[in-house]
């Protein structure tokens, strides 16, 4: 069983400093409360991966790679391909991350990204079917946190989507009952573009996309996401602490606005044309 990490000794001092700055609509790095850090997206950096993306948000860096295999579908969805999301908080990303299998934080990150992708129907899984009930494409979306300066949630989802959108998946055909590469490639069509924004709360004030020093001092934080149609696609309160109910109304509006900002940035870098769901 994992434990909630103990608070830094400096956290309460930082909390007061961050809070008094928030009262003046300021932050320790010069941002305003609802400002994101600069986002950088690079794709197709790797040749062994079928899709890859390196995304930074400020100095938080996330590398996502996609590997594709052919395998059996789930029995209850015989005509759909599958995907799984894994996430690892690499020990080189932070002094607080340790080697070993993903702990609860890595699992939470993977499952939040997984839910965002799955529930908004990003990938049309029906188009990843080779032979109904027998052979489908299986996508492994593996997320690695390379440098952790707070908020690994938002850039992880961006990198997963960037890797998916630019993936070149080898096309297979069935020859004598066995899958064989045809030598051609295809890109998965995306049907939605959900993004998340992490919100940090101190007292009755909030900020978004916390950097590490802020994240350590927050009273509570949560991750919220919306898609391009303005639907909420993901919510996860991801730390101890209480969220005042009265704050939610305002947060929802800010998150909708800021995920739109991320979406515009993403589309600038990767002009995706969204497909309609089959």
């Amino acid at each position: 069983m994992a434990l909630t990490p103990k608070k830094d000794l400096t956290a309460s001092i930082m909390r007061n400093k961050i809070y008094s700055l928030l009262l003046q609509d300021k932050r320790i790095d010069g941002r305003r409360p609802a400002d994101l850090r600069p986002i950088k997206i690079e794709t197709g950096l790797l040749t062994k991966a079928d899709g890859s993306a390196l995304v930074s948000m400020g100095s938080t860096k996330i590398l996502t790679g996609i590997k594709v295999e052919v395998g059996a579908p789930f029995p209850d969805r015989p005509d759909e391909g599958t995907f799984t999301v894994n996430a690892e908080l690499l020990p080189l990303a932070s002094a607080s991350f340790e080697p070993g299998p993903p702990d609860e934080r890595g699992i939470e990150l993977a499952r939040v990204v997984d839910r965002s992708l799955r529930e908004s129907g990003v990938v049309d899984l029906k188009k990843l079917c080779l032979v109904k009930g027998e052979k489908v494409y299986i996508l492994f979306i593996d997320i690695y946190v390379l440098d952790y300066d707070g908020n690994y949630f938002d850039p992880s989802l961006i990198s997963a989507l960037a890797a998916l959108a630019t993936a070149k998946i080898p096309r297979y055909e069935i020859v004598d009952g066995k899958p064989q590469k045809t030598g051609e490639y295809f890109s998965p069509e995306l049907s939605a573009l959900p993004f998340t924004v992490m919100v940090g709360i101190i007292g009755e004030r909030f900020l978004i996309d916390p950097q590490l020093e802020e994240e350590k001092a927050l009273d509570v934080s949560l991750v919220m996401g919306t898609d391009e149609k303005g639907n909420m696609t993901c919510v996860q309160k991801n730390s101890p602490g209480q969220i005042p109910v009265g704050l939610m109304d305002r947060l929802v509006d800010v998150v909708a606005e800021k995920t739109n900002e991320i979406r515009r940035k993403f589309l600038q870098e990767i002009p995706v044309k969204l497909a309609s769901v089959s």
Partner: protein
């Protein structure tokens, strides 16, 4: 639409009278059963039923932290394990902790930590175990509701009880306290937990999609259900402590 574990999707999840598949109105909770002090050897325990969902929670502690190096000088550590029995679900759940169980253990622990006075017990450990005996939707919320009762039953000082339920969207309607079929075939499932005395949210997740306006209304609907559950929790604790003789208190 998908089929789960052989149970096909009902043609409609809400009928023409606005009733749900189990006959409830959209804003109605399932029949609830709550009991505290159900186990002998733990320091506190609680059993809860929300319709077909049956959960038992137990608390050990405050007791010495093991291994000792985990102990903190200024507060107790809180351990929490949310676990489902292998037979609690349609298809046998493999033994051991799944990724889902590890995630839910985290969110339940983080919710409990917001109301427990851990600083009263430096160097100690409080262990909370949640066992899902039968899963029919809303197991994490039932588990969290039971865990907070078990903590109170163990006499651990708390700022408030935690009450939790799920809201969701089913056939386009917002509904309270989803059952398994509504969870699986509905459009969205949103578990919510609150500390009612502070009017604050202590757990919040959303799986699925709903419009922003629906999200706002869903949160209000959850709060309505939570207030009802909170009332029952207080009653069951009051009943227990009023039945005790002065020596037992």
């Amino acid at each position: 639409m998908l089929e789960f574990s052989g149970i096909p999707r009902p043609e409609r999840l809400i009928d023409e009278n606005g009733r749900r598949i189990d006959g409830r109105r959209p804003d109605e909770l399932r029949p609830i059963k709550m009991e505290v002090g159900v186990l002998d050897k733990s320091d506190g325990s609680a059993y809860i039923e929300f319709g077909g969902t049956k959960v038992i929670a137990a608390v050990f502690g405050p007791r010495e932290a093991h291994p000792r190096h985990l102990a903190l000088p200024d507060r107790a550590i809180l351990n929490c394990r949310y676990h489902m029995t292998s037979f609690s679900v349609e298809e046998r759940k493999p033994l051991g902790m799944t990724r889902r169980e590890i995630e839910l253990s985290k969110v339940i622990r983080e919710a409990l930590e917001t109301v427990t006075f851990l600083e009263e017990f430096p160097r100690a450990a409080i262990d909370v175990y949640v066992e899902v005996i039968q899963a029919d939707g809303g197991t994490r919320t039932a588990g969290l509701t039971a865990a907070s009762l078990a903590l109170a039953d163990a006499g651990i000082p708390m700022a408030d009880l935690i009450a939790a339920t799920a809201v969701g969207k089913v056939d386009g309607h917002l509904v309270l306290d989803l059952c398994d079929l509504e969870d699986k075939y509905g459009e969205a499932d949103m578990p919510v937990a609150m500390a009612p005395r502070f009017n604050s949210i202590v757990m919040l997740q959303l799986n699925g999609r709903m419009a922003i306006d629906e999200f706002r209304r869903a949160l209000a609907l959850a709060q309505k259900g939570i207030n009802e559950i909170y009332k029952l929790q207080r009653e069951v604790l009051k009943r227990k402590f009023s039945e005790l003789s002065p020596e037992e208190v």
